[in-house]
C-alpha cells in the first residue's frame, strides 16, 4: 500500500482569468485567485487598481459586466446567481460605505436577513424574542452598544459605528465567504482596533475572508495567510503576510512590472 497523501482540498473560491467592465471600461483584466476555507487573504493595491470592483463583482452588484473568465464558489457558478442568492449561500460583503436605511430598525432588518438565510437552508424562521437574545449576544461579541440595535440601520451612525455594524451583521449571518471592502477606511486607530477585534473573533476553519485594503495598518490587526498585490486589474504578486510589510516599505511602485 502506498502511503495516503491528503487529497487536494477543494477551494471555496476559485477565480480564473476574470475580466470585468464598468461603463465599457475594463477594470479587471484577467484576475485569478484561489481561496480555501479557513484562510484570510488580503488584496492590496493602489487606488483604481480594481480592489473594490473585485469585491463588488463577487457580491453581484449590478452595473459590472463580466466579459471573460469564471468564478466558482464551492464548485457553483457564482456569477450566475442573483445577489440575494449569493448572500443566502454565504457570501457576505462588508461595505466600504454602508448605506443608511431611515426608519428601518437595525434589529428588524437583521432578523429579516437572517430569516431569508434560514429559509434558504430549509430552517424555520427565528421568532422576535429568540432573535433579540441572539443579536444582543452578537453585539457583545463585536463590542457594539445595544442602543444601536433599535435605531434605524446606520441612521446617524459615525463612520466607526457603521463599520462595526457591518461586522455585527457578519456575526449574525455567519457567512462562509466574507469580503471586507476597505473596512479600515475612515477609522481612527482605536476604532480600527475595535473593528479588527470583531473580525478576528469571527475567524474560523469553515470561514474564508478576503480583505481588500489600501494600507498595511489593517493587516497589523487582521493578520492574513496570503497577501496579493492587485495592479492594473491583475494580481501581480502574491506572498505571505510579510509581503504586506514589504509593500509598506517600498510602496506599490516597486511591484510594477
Amino acid at each position: 500500500m502506498t502511503p495516503t497523501t491528503s487529497a487536494p482540498r477543494k477551494p471555496l473560491l476559485l477565480i480564473q482569468d476574470l475580466h470585468v467592465e464598468v461603463d465599457g471600461k475594463e477594470i479587471l483584466k484577467g484576475l485569478s485567485l484561489t481561496v480555501h476555507a479557513g484562510e484570510v487573504h488580503a488584496i492590496m493595491g493602489p487606488n483604481g487598481s480594481g480592489k473594490s470592483t473585485l469585491a463588488h463583482v463577487l457580491a453581484g452588484r449590478p452595473g459590472y459586466t463580466v466579459t471573460k473568465g469564471s468564478v466558482l464558489y464551492h464548485g457553483k457558478d457564482l456569477l450566475a446567481m442573483e445577489p440575494e442568492e449569493r448572500a443566502r449561500d454565504g457570501v457576505f460583503l462588508a461595505f466600504q460605505y454602508p448605506v443608511e436605511l431611515p426608519g428601518v430598525s437595525n434589529t428588524y432588518f437583521l432578523r429579516e436577513a437572517l430569516n431569508a438565510h434560514r429559509k434558504h437552508k430549509g430552517l424555520g424562521e427565528v421568532d422576535a424574542v429568540d432573535f433579540l437574545d441572539l443579536i444582543k449576544q452578537k453585539a457583545r461579541l463585536v463590542g457594539m452598544d445595544d442602543k444601536f440595535l433599535s435605531r434605524g440601520v446606520n441612521e446617524g451612525f459615525s463612520g466607526g459605528e457603521k463599520k462595526r455594524n457591518e461586522i455585527l451583521q457578519m456575526a449574525v449571518l455567519e457567512p462562509r465567504l466574507a469580503l471586507l471592502d476597505e473596512t479600515d477606511s475612515g477609522l481612527d486607530i482605536d476604532a480600527l482596533r475595535n473593528v479588527a477585534e470583531g473580525v478576528n473573533k469571527l475567524r474560523s476553519p469553515e470561514r474564508a475572508m478576503v480583505v481588500v485594503t489600501h494600507y498595511q495598518r489593517l493587516l497589523d490587526h487582521i493578520v492574513p495567510d496570503r497577501v496579493h498585490v492587485l495592479q492594473g486589474g491583475r494580481i501581480v504578486k502574491s506572498g505571505g503576510k510579510e509581503l504586506a510589510l514589504e509593500l509598506e516599505q517600498s510602496g506599490y511602485e516597486a511591484t510594477k512590472a
Binding site: 452588484r61 460605505y97 431611515p102 432588518f109
Partner: protein, 483 residues
C-alpha cells in the same frame, strides 16, 4: 435607475380584490334631477326636513362648478350618466336584516373573500363592523354591547329613523351642504353611511370599523359619516375599503363630519384601497372626499390618520377646525400614487381658539407614472394666541417618471404663533436596494422595507390591527414598482 430593468421584471400583482358579486340591486334610474332626490329620500323613508335639506343642497349644487384647482387631470364627468342609488334588495321594504343570519349569503361570501368575515369579526376580534356594500348598511354588530354604554353606532339611515334629533342637530354643521361642489352633491344624494355618538364621559372600548365597497356597476358612492363625541368621551374609528375591478370610472364623493366637544377625542383612521385603474390608467375610482372635524370644545382633540393607496384620483383634505381653546388637531398621512394614479391630498388646520396646536406629517410615495401632491393650509386666526403648528412633508420617488409636488400654504394673522415646516424629497437608491439584497433580502422585500421605514412615523399612529394591514397593503401595491 441602474437596477430598473431587473426590478421591472418582478411580477406585478393585479388588483387582489377585483371581483364582483352577483346580488340583485335595487337601483334608481340613471341621472340626476329633483325627482331623483325625491326618489332616494322616499326609498329611505326619510322625514320631510331631510328631503328639504337634500333639495336645498341639490339646488345649490346646480349653481356650482366643478373645482379645477387640484393637480389632477381626468375627463369631464357626466353627472347624468351616474346611477345615484343602489341598495342590495331586502326581504321586505324598509326592513333591515336583524342579524347576520338574515344577510344575503352571497354578500357574506364576498366579505369572506375579502378576509373580513363578519362572523369572525364578531366572535374573535372585538371590532364592531358596520358593513356598507354599495349604499345600504348590511349588518351592524356589537350594537347591543355598545348600546348599554349609551354609544350609538349604526347606519346613517337608521340614525335618521331612530335618532332624528341628534342627526338634525349636527348634520351639516362641520361640512355645510353648500361647502363645495362634491359635498353639495353628496348632501343631495347621499345614500347611507355611518353614524356614531359617544355620550358624555364614555370611552368607547372598541375600535369602530366600517368597510366600504363599491359593487353595482356604474353606481356612484355617496356615503355620509357623522361622528359626535360628547364632553370627555373618546372614540377610535376605523374605515377601510376595497373595491372590485371596473372598466369605467366610478365617482366616490363621501362626506365625513366629526364633532368633538370639551375634552373629547376622536381618532379617525382610514386605509383606502379603491380600485386604482389598470396599468395603463384605464378605469379606477375617483375619490373626491370631504372630511372635516370640528374641535368645538376646549381641550378637544381630533386626529386623522390615512393610508391612501387606491383610487385613480384622490382629492381629499381631512381637516380640523380648532375652535375650542387648547384644542389639538393632527393629520398623519401616507399617500401612494403608482402607475397612472393621481393623488392630491393634504389637510387644513384652522386655528381659532387660543393655544391650539396642530401637527401634520405627510408621506407621499410616487411610483410608475404616479403624481403625488401634498396640499396643505395652516391658518392662524387673529384670536388664536399662542397657536402652534408643526408640519413635515416628505416625498419618496420610486422611479424617474413619477412626480411629487407640495403646495403648503401658511397664513398667520396672530404674531404669537409658532410655526415649523420641514420638507424632504428623496429617492429609493440603487445602493440601498443592493445593500439589502447583499444581506439576502429579495428586491421586492427590499423596496418594501425601505418604504415601510419611510412611512413608519405614520404607521405608528394607526390602531394596532391596522398597522399590519396597512403594511401588507402597501407591500401588495408596491410589487414591481421601482423602475
Amino acid at each position: 435607475m441602474a437596477t430598473s430593468s431587473e426590478i421591472a421584471d418582478l411580477t406585478n400583482q393585479g388588483y387582489k380584490y377585483g371581483f364582483t358579486t352577483d346580488i340583485e340591486s335595487d337601483t334608481v334610474p340613471i341621472g340626476l334631477s329633483e325627482a331623483t332626490v325625491h326618489l332616494i329620500s322616499e326609498k329611505k323613508g326619510e322625514p320631510a326636513w331631510l328631503l328639504e335639506w337634500r333639495l336645498k343642497a341639490y339646488r345649490h349644487w346646480l349653481t356650482m362648478t366643478e373645482p379645477t384647482w387640484a393637480n389632477v387631470h381626468y375627463p369631464a364627468i357626466d353627472y347624468q350618466a351616474i346611477t345615484y342609488y343602489s341598495a342590495p334588495k331586502k326581504k321586505a321594504a324598509g326592513e333591515g336584516p336583524k342579524s347576520l343570519a338574515e344577510v344575503d349569503p352571497e354578500l357574506v361570501k364576498m366579505y369572506e373573500k375579502l378576509g373580513i368575515s363578519l362572523k369572525e369579526q364578531e366572535r374573535l376580534t372585538g371590532v364592531a363592523v358596520d358593513a356598507v356594500v354599495d349604499s345600504a348598511s348590511v349588518a351592524t354588530t356589537f350594537k347591543a354591547q355598545l348600546g348599554e354604554m349609551g354609544i350609538i353606532f349604526c347606519s346613517f339611515s337608521e340614525a335618521v329613523r331612530e335618532h332624528p334629533d341628534l342627526v338634525k342637530k349636527y348634520l351639516g354643521t362641520v361640512v355645510p351642504a353648500t361647502d363645495n361642489f362634491f359635498a353639495a352633491l353628496n348632501s343631495a344624494v347621499f345614500s347611507d353611511g355611518s353614524f356614531c355618538f359617544i355620550p358624555k364621559g364614555v370611552r368607547c372600548p372598541l375600535e369602530l370599523s366600517t368597510y366600504f365597497r363599491i359593487n353595482a356597476a356604474g353606481t356612484g358612492q355617496f356615503e355620509r359619516t357623522l361622528i359626535i363625541a360628547e364632553e370627555g368621551s373618546y372614540v377610535s374609528y376605523l374605515e377601510g375599503c376595497t373595491a372590485p375591478m371596473r372598466d369605467e370610472n366610478q365617482l366616490h364623493a363621501a362626506v365625513v363630519e366629526l364633532v368633538a366637544l370639551d375634552d373629547a377625542e376622536i381618532k379617525y383612521s382610514t386605509v383606502q384601497n379603491w380600485y386604482p385603474g389598470d396599468k395603463n390608467g384605464v378605469g379606477g375610482v375617483y375619490n373626491f372626499v370631504t372630511k372635516r372635524g370640528k374641535c368645538a370644545g376646549k381641550r378637544s382633540k381630533i386626529s386623522w390618520t390615512q393610508v391612501e393607496t387606491g383610487s385613480a384620483i384622490t382629492w381629499k383634505y381631512p381637516s380640523c377646525i380648532l375652535l375650542g381653546d387648547d384644542s389639538v388637531g393632527e393629520f398623519y398621512s401616507v399617500a401612494l400614487a403608482n402607475d397612472y394614479q393621481q393623488a392630491d391630498t393634504g389637510t387644513k388646520m384652522i386655528h381659532v381658539g387660543k393655544r391650539t396646536r396642530s401637527t401634520i406629517i405627510s408621506k407621499g410615495i410616487s411610483g410608475g407614472h404616479g403624481q403625488n401632491t401634498y396640499r396643505g393650509q395652516v391658518k392662524i386666526m387673529k384670536g388664536a394666541d399662542g397657536a402652534r403648528n408643526y408640519s413635515q412633508c416628505d416625498s419618496l420617488l420610486l422611479g424617474d417618471k413619477c412626480g411629487a409636488h407640495t403646495f403648503p400654504v401658511i397664513d398667520v394673522q396672530n404674531p404669537t404663533a409658532i410655526m415649523e415646516h420641514e420638507a424632504t424629497t428623496s429617492k429609493v437608491s440603487d445602493d440601498q436596494i443592493f445593500y439589502l439584497r447583499q444581506r439576502g433580502i429579495s428586491q421586492a422585500e427590499a423596496v418594501s422595507l425601505i418604504v415601510n421605514g419611510f412611512c413608519k412615523s405614520v404607521f405608528r399612529k394607526l390602531p394596532m390591527e391596522f398597522t399590519v394591514e396597512a403594511q401588507n397593503l402597501l407591500d401588495l401595491k408596491l410589487e414591481g414598482t421601482v423602475g
